[in-house]
Amino acid sequence: MAFSIFGILAVLLEFIRPFLPLILAVVIIELMLLVVALRRNGLLNTFRALKSTVPIGVVGFVIGIFTVPWMTGAERSNLAGIIDWLSLFGASFALGLIAMLLVWPPFALFRHRAS
């Protein structure tokens, strides 16, 4: 059977639907913070702040490696084969990326105050 990008997006939409209000609220707040940071600090400095969030991303990744199987009700011993490990690394990478993006706008504002 074939599947489409539209189909994948539809499934992802259903997956996040219960959390949609919370996600939208967080995204709006983050965007507002980012706009404020851009205005105060300029484009270059705001993007430089992204670099500062890398350690947070790494921490998020490492935490993901240790906790994602547990969060799914499974144990590390349930991982069998390369596809399971790649999935774990992929999910942990996504967790790290989200952590980076979440702390980026506050970091950008903090950089401004510090400078």
């Binding site: 599947f3 997956f15 799914t72």
Partner: protein
């Protein structure tokens, strides 16, 4: 048959307005070219729309009925679509196994039909008590007669507790009796029994109804998850587990059948072949099984009862049911062409989901594959075109072997494995199919109800 085909053509001429007949771009038309090797869970949206004033009745607002209603409402312009079902509650039945084994809360399987009924679809909250395909009408239990030009039958099935002497749904959750099927209340009470059994131990009987049953993997999953839970609790040595199969196999797909025939003994789950549950004595905690050597009685501390299943009476006793052959004997299932899903004697009638008599396919994954075929072929009938869509028997079962691991089994009418994800072995336990079952399949199911995958 010829008379029916002429009628089909007449219907098409009467209903389709040629001046308005046109094709519309579907929402995902441009995206269609991006289709990838894929899955039965994620698939394309309807690609064409047609102007018509046809009266289409869909009987049953389960997974197949709602998915068909959404697809038709998006595909047809001007059709009068009526959905008939009394139930306001929608149950995510693939989750009942998880409820019955303590992995999900019952609320995770409960939803509302209203959330998925399209705005341009009339929903009649009644049950159909009579199908009259010769007169193109159905009669509801409230006495209303509803005429149609086209009919889609998606009634689901009837779990026949009465077929087991002494058994009734009220017994579930008492006297060591469990049954995962039918609703979350049954599953919750089953969990209470399994929870107690895996603590106190004793003899556990695991059964399977003969013939076509919905989600035929569920009885196996309940057995394996019970065994897994006892292991985790450190009480495995207190349990004597027996799986009584009504036939000579455990699973219709041969590779998986072989795997399970090795897996069950490895986990110290004894198997008896040709043991069909025919009676239960709750107070004595005794079950009777019909075998080739006569009836045999087993004492138990826990029993997972899986009754036979059949078409609902209104459908099974109607001309729409198979009139002879194995699908008539097995459960009075609705007669359809196994590929087109069209009724062979009533070409303006289609069927999908648990109620149809096809060799395999009483799963949500089958519904996912069947409904687009039904909708495409119905649209073709309305437009007077050849039927081109074909259902290949696709079905899927994320066979959970323990908490945290499952095998993603997908196969077709030929019983050949047809993995949607070539990188996930259909022969080996993995963590990824477990995540899919536990976290993502409900999202895919809901998207299917909305007609989006």
């Amino acid at each position: 048959m010829k008379r029916r085909n002429n009628r089909q053509a007449e219907l098409a001429d009467a209903i389709v307005d040629p001046g308005r007949r046109r094709l519309l771009k579907a929402a995902g038309l441009g995206i269609g070219s991006l289709s990838l090797a894929g899955t039965g869970i994620l698939a394309s949206t309807p690609a064409r729309a047609l102007a018509t004033n046809a009266r289409i009745v869909i009987v049953g607002a389960g997974a197949a009925g709602l998915a068909a209603a959404n697809r038709l409402s998006a595909t047809l312009d001007g059709a009068r679509i009526t959905l008939i079902d009394r139930r306001e509650r929608h149950l995510y039945q693939p989750g009942l196994t998880l409820v019955a084994t303590g992995l999900w809360k019952p609320g995770q399987t409960i939803d509302e039909n209203q959330r998925y009924v399209p705005r341009n679809v009339d929903w009649i909250q009644a049950s159909v008590s009579e199908f009259d395909p010769d007169a193109n009408r159905v009669v509801t239990d409230t006495g209303d007669t509803i005429d149609y030009d086209y009919l889609i039958v998606t009634t689901g099935l009837h779990v026949d507790f009465d077929a087991i002497e002494g058994m009734s749904p009220e017994l579930i959750g008492r006297e060591g009796i469990g049954c995962v099927y039918d609703n979350p209340e049954h599953a919750t009470r089953t969990w209470e029994m399994i929870d107690r059994y895996t603590t106190e131990g004793g003899v556990g009987l695991f059964t399977r109804g003969p013939g076509g049953i919905k989600c035929a993997g569920a009885p196996l999953k309940v057995a394996m998850l019970t065994e897994d839970l006892a292991q985790r609790r450190g009480h495995r040595d207190r349990l004597e587990m027996v799986y009584n199969s009504p036939g000579a196999g455990l699973f219709s797909q041969p590779d998986m059948d072989q795997f399970l025939k090795e897996e069950f003994p490895r986990r110290d789950i004894a198997i008896n072949w040709h043991h069909r549950l025919v009676g239960i004595e709750p107070e004595q905690r005794r079950a009777t099984f019909a075998t080739p050597d006569g009836d045999i009685r087993f004492d138990y501390d826990f029993i997972h009862v899986v009754p036979p299943m059949r078409a609902p009476d209104a459908l099974g006793n109607s001309p729409l049911a198979w009139q002879e052959g194995s699908f008539a004997d097995d459960g009075n299932w609705m007669e359809v062409d196994r590929h087109s899903m069209q009724h062979p004697r009533y070409p303006n009638v289609f069927g999908a989901g648990d109620c149809v008599g096809t060799p395999i396919g009483k799963t949500a994954a089958s519904v996912k594959a069947q409904v687009p075929v039904v909708v495409d072929n119905l649209v073709s009938v309305i437009a007077g075109r050849e039927l081109t869509a074909s259902y290949n028997g696709y079905t899927s079962c994320p066979l959970i072997t323990s908490r945290g691991q499952a095998i993603l089994v997908e196969f077709d009418y030929n019983l050949d494995m047809v993995p949607s994800f070539p990188f996930i072995s259909p022969y080996r336990e993995h963590w990824v199919p477990w995540i899919m079952k536990d976290k993502f399949l409900k999202a895919a199911y809901n998207a299917m109800l909305r007609g989006r995958v």
